[in-house]
Amino acid sequence: MKLIDQSSQQYRRLWWFASRGFAAVAFVLLITAIITAPSGLQNFFNGLAIGGVYAIFALGYTLIFSILRIINFAHGAIFTLGAYFTYFLTGSAVGFNGLLANQRLPFGLPFPIAMIGGGILAGLCGILIERVAFRPLRNKGSDPLLTLVSSLGMAVAIVNVIQLMVGAEIYSYPRNPFGELPAALNLGTFGGLTQRPIIIRTIQVIIFGVSMVLVVLLTYFINGTKTGKALRAVAEDATTSSLLGINTNFLILITFFISGLIGGIAGTLVGLSVNVSGPYFGINFGLKGLAVIVLGGLGDIPGAVVGGLVIGVAEAFVPSEQVAYKEAVAFAVLFLVLLLRPQGLLGRAVVQKV
């Protein structure tokens, strides 16, 4: 009996070392591959830029999930709305279709302010979604699955309203939204480390920068402010929080606002990079955002950031002639990670209490 115990313990220790060793070797190989591949570093930087947007977009899901334990399926639609709001706030005109054809605002805001304004309007739409699709069901104590369906309904409704109002055409933001900046930065070859010089578009730098600023602000908000502390308390136990004088419904509204705000800004950032492709702009993004939060660990804020960056970088390594496989890569990464870590990259394993 004792013999078996010992050997199984040894086996376990061996397995622990082997798995950690394997992970370390894989990591080193991955880094080497990134640096030495023909356009490895270039892809890596491209991936970081889009990954930053994935991260902030996914944070919008994560915030609501951590409080309500429900995925807000309308988040992709909020992303789309944010991109459109920014477009109109810059004073650009609606296209030839839709009820608002050829209309434009009597004023135009500078792009950075329009982006923030678009985010705020998207945040207000988030509040609307909470009031229409979430709160009535919550008050009746209904199954979370039903709320999931009603949020999906909101997504469909929003997409159709957008199409009705402004048509389905592609919208592009004004040129040079940040004034006269060089279109790209040439980082050179890092002393011959790479075969071709690495070139980063200015837009990519801006996208990544804005995303990371939002991540830092949000982290500070959650950990450093009184409202953030109250949010963490509500996430853990809403009933007890309300008995400690915390207005839970109001905090949920704030959560939806912030989620919508960063979702809307994410939409603007992507629109800046690839144009606003129509009312369905956010749908694919919405699915990928789900992959990101599952990858990072549901409800985990650092996890959403890491997950976003990982998926962004993984996608960037898809060769441009096979761009149709980008989505497949995101979900393949998700699939592989879940095989090894079902709780997500940074998620904690849920211990079943007996």
Partner: protein, 255 residues
């Protein structure tokens, strides 16, 4: 309404489907008293606590706290008026530290509002320091100051109960509802509990309502006792009177 009455329960009924969890119960709690609520399992004691704190709206009846009708108020509004409670099945924020648990309850008494939080401004450092200091004092009072930075879920059962009381006191309540404070405590902790509850009543000018199964504690501690059975109030009075009430004996021992 007399100034001496802190909480008045008027004809409160709470039905769950066909079950009357609380059935037409009325009583008034005097300022400064320790009021016991006892009864066999399933008698409706915790449901009554849930109704008083706004977690479960009553089916019929009215509640008055300090002369204010709180029947339709929401839990956080009632908490802000000065009603705090602890739970039979402890409900701490397990992943937060003991100190954070207490500080969250303190925050409703700070001035800086939600707007400040949304804008991401730091809480005024002075105010934050005061909140932290007061929270530490409360932890000291319940004997947990050394464990202030420990996650609440790592505490022993008895310590978790004391932490819950510290958190409730942080609300600066006038009325404290304790749901089975002695449950899970060992004999020593139980004997110390009576003295502790009395001392916090003096120190914080509290009125206390407590649910408890441990009879020696209830009899020795409470000024008055209400007995519930199947949701109905079957006795109300001083401990000795209630102890000898035939209806109470029947409820506990059967015929």
């Amino acid at each position: 309404m007399s100034e001496a009455i802190v909480l008045e329960v008027r004809h409160i009924t709470r039905r769950f489907g066909g079950l009357y969890a609380v059935d037409n119960v009325s009583f008034a709690v005097q300022r400064g008293e320790i009021f016991g609520l006892i009864g066999p399992n399933g008698a409706g004691k915790t449901t009554l606590f849930n109704v008083i704190t706004g977690m479960t709206p009553p089916t019929h009846g009215e509640l008055f706290y300090e002369g204010i009708n709180i029947t339709n108020k929401r839990p956080h509004e009632i908490a802000m008026l000065g009603v705090a409670r602890t739970f039979q099945n402890i409900r701490l924020f397990g992943t937060l530290t003991a100190l954070e648990n207490v500080m969250i309850a303190r925050h409703i008494h700070t001035k800086s509002g939600v707007l400040e939080g949304v804008l991401g401004l730091p809480p005024a450092p002075q105010e934050e320091r005061a909140v932290r200091q007061r929270a530490m004092e409360l932890l000291e009072l319940v004997g947990l100051a050394e464990a202030a930075e420990m996650q609440a879920r790592n505490f022993s059962y008895g310590d978790q109960r004391r932490l819950e009381i510290a958190r409730a006191l942080a609300l600066e309540p006038k009325l404290l509802l304790l749901d089975e404070p002695a449950a899970g405590m060992n004999q020593n902790e139980k004997s110390a509990l009576s003295a502790f509850i009395r001392s916090i009543r003096e120190q914080f000018n509290l009125t206390i309502v407590l649910i408890e199964h441990y009879v020696p504690l209830v009899m020795g501690l409470c000024d008055r006792i209400a007995v519930l059975n199947f949701g109905q109030l079957i006795a109300l009075g001083a401990p000795e009177a209630v102890q000898n009430d035939p209806a109470v004996i029947e409820a506990y021992l059967g015929e």
